[in-house]
């Protein structure tokens, strides 16, 4: 017996009006789906969470299923900055520079306890959370978080990406948030 339809779920179409030869929906829904399922992450891996990210990219957990196949190490071409691992005060300016080099629309994912809040390293040399220097969209707790948790965090980013208006960068809330970090 030949199975005509496999059991792999593809991304469903958004709500819209369908007819013979056309499909009408709103532009931001279509763009949202396109963006969410083809995010280019920048793996900013500093320590142990980076190894768990390697395990998430590996065939066993496979983050590439969600569209994050092409890792970009250049911030100019990346959508999602995944900060994985402890950021020390020496690394802070480097992280900020990488964030500033990313073009809009950009999202930030803080993976692990160290990136979210400093983790177990409450010391003079560790930045107590990257949200002291850049705005963060999703935090993934864990030390290190399991690959399932990383995928869950990534899916939450996808939800954020899908439901964002087309030009978030012009909204007053976003402008105020960036101004509070000193980013113009």
């Amino acid at each position: 017996m030949i199975h005509l339809m496999s059991d792999i779920e593809l991304v469903g179409a958004p709500a819209g009006v369908e007819g013979a030869g056309f499909f009408a929906t709103s532009l931001d829904k279509a763009v949202g789906i396109a963006r969410a399922n083809s995010l280019w992450p920048l793996p900013f891996a500093t320590s142990c969470c980076g190894i768990e990210f390697m395990a998430t990219m590996s065939p066993h957990y496979d983050l590439a299923r969600f569209g994050a196949e092409r890792l970009s190490f250049s911030p100019r071409q990346a959508d999602l900055l995944m900060v994985m691992g402890t950021i020390s005060k020496k690394m802070g300016p480097v992280l900020r520079q990488v964030y500033l080099q990313m073009a809009e629309p950009r999202w930030v994912l803080a993976m692990g306890a160290c990136a979210s809040s400093g983790g177990i390293f409450d010391t003079y040399s560790v930045l107590q959370g990257i949200d002291e220097i850049i705005p963060v969209d999703v935090y993934i707790p864990g030390c290190p978080p399991r690959p399932e948790a990383v995928i869950d965090g990534f899916m939450q980013i996808q939800e954020l990406v899908k439901t964002e208006t087309l030009r978030r960068r012009d909204t007053p809330e976003y402008q105020k948030l960036l101004a509070s970090y000193g980013i113009l």
């Binding site: 142990c48 590996s58 065939p59």
Partner: protein, 403 residues
Amino acid sequence: MQNHPVYTDNDPQNELSTLNLGPTHPATHGVFQNVLQLDGERIVSGVSTIGYIHRAFEKIAEHRPFYQITPLTDRLNYCSSPINNMGWHMTVEKLLGIQLPKRVDYLRIIIMELARISDHLICNSVLGVDTGATAGFFYLMEQRENIYEIYEEVCGSRLTTNIGRIGGFERNFNDIALRKIKKFVKEYPAVLREFETLLKRNRIFVDRTKGVAEVTAEQALSYSWSGPILRATGVDYDVRAMNPYCSYEDFDFEVPVGEKGDVYARFLVRNEEMWQSLRLIEQALTKLEKEPTDIFHADVPDFYLPPKEEVYNNMEALIYHFKIVMGEIPTPHTEVYHSVEGGNGELGFYLVNDGGRSPYRLHFRRPSFINYQMYASMSRGMLLSDAIINMSSLNVIAGELDA
């Protein structure tokens, strides 16, 4: 940014270009920086900057009791955290004079050799990725998942394991764990042989790595190198053989040694060490069958927490629990240095104790830190692509580099 010295006085005509192989770079496996001066593709000079993930482990350790330092040691060489954990436990056991039953030693050897295999497989497969062969990486990372499952069975965690306690293990290895270990030992050889067919005699890989970054034994010893990269130069210094710990003297294993110290030799030494680790695990499994199956820790009520059922029902256990957790048990006022063979070399713990429940001073002798010093002077005269491969073969783990 940081004010790091860049040699500009050797370039009056401004013909050389400066390349910042910066803290964030896909090829540097971890956060460390090399500012290189290039003449075309050839490196003229380089300056290394580290400390981008300095988390002040040694300072934290002065404020934590002994059993709370184990999670810190996890995050030194996080690719093989059980070795760090066991090394720390052995240091404290040496300080306190705790003798372990043989079964605990054999279980520790199994866990440490599994960790060594997982560390070497990352290094070798990533060396393949850096030369362009990504397939081997995906094959071997799947095996790392099998090792993670064994850790999960024993301690609950995958990567930063915090495995074991001072005096033994927190729980006995159940049947599932032993079954998984036996399955791993049976299945891994085939995968490793398949990986070897991809790279070991691959014309491209051999041309890329043979003769690159040759190091003599005298240079390596002068730079205090240790581990597989030292053994690749011809010096057979392995802490397990020279200063045996944890019953390694009862086991029969070889220490693979290379000749020229180039990147290909380091790859082969690590590969052969994985085979020797498998041999050690098999011997340990055989030896385990002769030991009674219910011992998993030493009988030291002063330092090993009693089981919770006894704490709630037995007065003596309650008192011991209180004393251990509140740190009321005096410890010797002395100093100890103990080293184990980590994935990258001699991982040493220098513990100076003042009788309390936290160390007075704890210093980690970190092999990645000491091995990496030579990198800048080694890269002089090398092509940039060779320097990248050299860096991968040194297996510098950022957590151990900066501590």
